[in-house]
């Protein structure tokens, strides 16, 4: 891990101004930090570091990082113009991160969540074995603790330097989602600029709710690859958050200033289902079925009598072959109860 010196950063004058890639305005960097990294003149959303995301989304001091020690290895002996290991090291020095994802447990307005956050500056946020492993553990912990999972993605896709091992991370990050479905634990995907390739083609598309930041690049194939292969011009606004919203693949485009409040609201609206062993025996006064059975209990025998008569009548007409026969057990019970 790189060592950061306390006086080094803001001394460099080149950091003072940042050019907005959208409107070319020169923005004072310190102002950018205060405006959630949104361009004050055109509203362009600059990319955020993991640290800034945590500060943006989670309650102060609530984040506990997990599995911080996972580190990528060069399993293939991959070398393009330099070895993969050198690229990893350069990214580690640049970002202060071990790999492109940080995950942990935090709170949003007091609600506990398992959250994974990408940092695009680490090798383009690409997903290799460590990213896949961290996200799988994030989902598995959400399952174990029955708390919602959130992943904020910013990634070019699978990490080519890990070959098919990175492709397999698509399956590794997706498999736990089946278990979340079975257990009734929600997963919210937040897509930020950019979310493409293998990351979009796995967990990022599979949120129970999918949110996107405005004008983020979101798509399967990079626009350049697409026009290379297809040989046609891509339509205007192709592969943006708004394009995906229009085509039904995103639930809402949420400006950064409202992201935390939106997540908080969704967490309240979509709580994890009660575990099967908790459900039995305690009060079920919430929800329509619970309310009905509560009503039935209060009305007591009167209700069961009415049901008994109804079912009996149905069973009788079923004898004429006009109605399909009812499932056996309720009919039998009702007959026993009926006077």
């Amino acid at each position: 891990m790189p060592i950061k010196f306390p006086f080094s950063r803001r001394a460099a004058p080149s950091d003072a101004w940042t050019k907005c890639p959208n409107c070319d305005a020169q923005v004072f960097s310190r102002q950018l930090e205060r405006t959630l990294r949104i361009c004050p003149s055109c509203g362009h959303h600059f990319r955020m570091s993991v640290g800034e995301r945590i500060d943006l989304l989670l309650d102060q001091n609530s984040f506990e990082e997990r599995d911080a020690g996972l580190e990528s290895v060069d399993r293939l002996g991959f070398h393009d113009d330099r070895p993969y290991a050198h690229r990893l090291e350069a990214s580690q020095v640049k970002t202060g991160l071990r790999d492109a994802v940080v995950w942990g447990i935090g709170r949003i307005d007091g609600q506990r969540v398992a959250i994974g956050i990408f940092d695009f500056r680490f090798m383009g946020g690409s997903m290799g074995s460590v990213v896949g492993e961290k996200l799988a553990r994030c989902f598995e912990t959400a399952l174990e603790e029955r708390i919602p999972a959130i992943v904020v993605s910013a990634s070019g896709g699978a990490r080519m330097q890990e070959g098919t091992l990175s492709l397999m991370q698509l399956a590794k990050t997706t498999a736990p989602l089946v278990r979340l479905d079975e257990a009734g634990v929600p997963f919210i995907a937040v897509l930020t600029d950019p979310t493409t390739g293998g990351v979009l083609a796995s967990f990022a598309s599979l949120g129970d709710v999918v949110l996107a930041e405005p004008k983020a690049l979101i798509g399967f194939a990079g626009a350049r690859v697409a026009s290379d292969t297809v040989g046609e011009q891509m339509p205007e606004g192709f592969q943006t958050s708004e394009f995906l919203l229009a085509h039904g693949f995103v639930d809402a485009v949420v400006p950064r200033s409202e992201l935390r409040a939106t997540l908080s609201r969704l967490l309240r609206l979509l709580p994890a289902a009660r575990a099967a062993d908790e459900e039995r025996g305690d009060d079920r006064s919430w929800g329509p079925i619970g309310a009905l059975s509560g009503l039935a209990e209060r009305l007591g025998g009167a209700v069961s009598e009415t049901i008994g008569i109804d079912v009996d009548a149905e069973a009788a007409s079923g004898g004429n072959g006009e109605r399909p026969s009812q499932p056996a057990s309720p009919t039998a019970d009702a007959r026993e109860d009926a006077p």
């Binding site: 800034e52 098919t164 194939a221």
Partner: protein, 332 residues
């Protein structure tokens, strides 16, 4: 990871390695190489093709339907490339659109419902990257297919026939047993695509092919493929019948072995197989923490209200943004 991964020294691929890898890529793309529909009648009987995704249309780049394997019903799904210009246009060169993956999902759900084992054949350069595919949710279609396959309650046997190209291959390629023909290749991105991103020139595709270690043997070494199925001496394109016979033997024994497991065991084993994919180190380092004991500068800053010194420590102090040239690192 229980054992440490075997690491090779990183070096540019040797001329010999490049030669070998590229020969495999060429064999995998050989125009006479047996395709899914060539092998189907040689391995199975009574194949009945099912078509359409029930939502948008039928994609001829993926074929599938029930068939009998030694008299037992199975569901067969595979990519289908063409053999000449005309059939390649019909089959879109074996590169599926979302409706192809959604048709495959439909067939898998049917197999799951009826308890039929699934056999899939991978032979695609990748999912189609055009605007129509994006509009209809190419990424979502692949993601949903992968998710569906991880939870199927029936045995799934995957065969890499020719090119196993990226997400388009994985979308029908998550299984309990993954077999590869000797001269097939499997990669996260086409060698041309990798070369144009990392080497900035499609001409380096040969080098990229070697660097990605995409041959069947390499895939066994990485644990992505379980076993290689030998091809006739000159390659599968010289003898479709012998290739089919070898494949049939491997498929039957894989299904027989998988059928002995009950559903819970099957799912647990598949989950463990997928969870074990990848190579990483688990170093002892614990949680990174926001600076708890503030630096002298920050403490002074707080007292004196110096500009640029925040009142409380924040995560962005240890992981700040750093605007600059980060565009050149891309994924696939």
């Amino acid at each position: 990871m229980t054992d440490l991964p075997v690491l090779l020294p990183a070096s540019p691929p040797s001329e010999q390695a490049i030669e070998k890898a590229w020969r495999r890529v060429q064999l995998a793309r050989h125009p006479q190489r047996p395709r899914t529909l060539d092998l189907l009648p040689l391995i199975f009987t009574e194949f009945f093709e099912l078509r359409g995704d029930r939502a948008f249309g039928d994609d001829a780049a993926i074929v599938g339907g029930p068939a009998l394997l030694d008299g037992h019903p199975v569901m067969v799904i595979g990519h289908q490339k063409g053999t000449d210009t005309e059939s390649n246009i019909l089959r879109n060169f074996g590169s599926p659109h979302p409706e192809g993956f959604r048709k495959a999902q439909r067939l898998m759900r049917l197999a799951d419902k009826l308890g039929m084992p699934i056999v899939t054949f991978l032979d695609t350069a990748g999912a189609f990257p055009g605007p129509a595919a994006e509009e209809r949710g190419q990424a979502e279609a692949i993601a949903t297919s992968v998710k569906l396959m991880t939870g199927l309650q029936v045995p799934v046997v995957v065969i890499v026939l020719g090119e196993g190209g990226s997400g388009g291959a994985l979308a029908i390629g998550v299984g309990d047993v993954v077999l590869a023909l000797e001269n097939s290749v499997y990669s996260v991105i086409s060698p041309e695509g990798c070369a144009s991103i990392l080497w900035r020139s499609r001409d380096e595709a040969r080098t990229a092919a070697a660097a990605m270690r995409m041959t069947a043997d390499d895939q066994v070494d990485l644990g992505v493929v379980d076993a290689v199925v030998a091809e006739p001496a000159e390659g599968a394109h010289t003898d479709h019948v012998a290739t089919a016979a070898a494949l049939k033997l491997a498929i039957v024994s894989a299904i027989r072995r998988l059928s002995e497991q009950d559903t819970a065991e099957l799912l647990a084993t598949r989950y463990a197989r997928l969870r074990g994919m990848g190579a990483y180190l688990e170093t002892g380092a614990g949680s990174s923490r926001p600076p708890e004991a503030p630096s002298l500068r920050r403490r002074l800053g707080r007292i004196l209200h110096l500009p640029g010194v925040r009142q409380r420590p924040r995560w962005s102090d240890i992981w700040p943004s750093d605007d600059g040239d980060d565009e050149h690192e891309r994924g696939a």
